[in-house]
Symmetry: C2
Subunit: 138 residues, 2 copies
């Protein structure tokens, strides 16, 4: 498995409209995308530092993982996403080493990345959620 | 203020010894430093993806911010650190815009970076802790 870098940090928020100004106008990080991932029940806004992105996550469905997270813990840093060169081989290598992943077949996330999440029991706790993502080839 | 990228993500852990293997041997991210920051009461281990670092933080003092964080919430992603070109001008710009910082005079953090933290009331909550860091000139 080859980690290429921190792709993004996911931050759970009550409202993207309320929180976007801090990242865009106070920190002056370029807002590059706004996207809904219907099967995850979230709306996202992406701010690209040029070296890793900040992804704000707002629930659009009260049953979504982000809605449940905020209901339990409040808004906060939700996950770390690491870019990998090949997600299928990364999942194979992890599972062969006894590390559980949540999506054994990669799912499609924001910006078309192929993604999975490593099960928190393998990362040291529910609040150390690690996503792996592979960029789709053009 | 110019943000140069995600410098690192800080992860609060009970024990670096217990958690380092996941980052170093499972994810195969290069461990580049191990450092104690006495005035913060923490020991740190740094894993450099080449595009952003993961910094594990273990309390060495039961009164330290990391000890209190873990006692209250358990281990988890603790903060996002963004690299800036000039921390003094960043602090000046933030305070002029009504954004509070925790260290109005930059403190010296891990790897000699000049750092401050943005007050959580300006970032959307205590669990969205944002550090700014400027690399020391050689």
């Amino acid at each position: 498995m080859k980690i290429l870098g921190i792709e993004h940090i996911g931050v759970a928020v009550h409202s993207i409209d309320e929180r976007a100004a801090f990242w865009e106008y106070v920190l002056k990080i370029n807002r590059t995308a706004t996207e809904t991932v219907a099967d995850q029940g979230v709306s996202t806004a992406i701010f690209d530092t040029g070296k890793g992105k900040i992804e704000l996550l707002e629930a659009i469905d009260s049953d979504s993982p982000i809605a449940k997270y905020i209901a339990k813990r409040g808004p906060g840093i939700h996950h770390i996403c690491l870019e990998v060169d090949d997600i299928s081989s990364a999942i194979k290598e992890l599972t062969e080493n006894g590390i559980s992943v949540i999506n054994e077949t990669p799912s499609v996330g924001v910006e078309g990345y192929f993604i999975t999440f490593i099960h928190p029991r393998s990362t040291g706790g529910v609040l150390v959620l690690v996503e792996l993502a592979q960029k789709q080839k053009p």
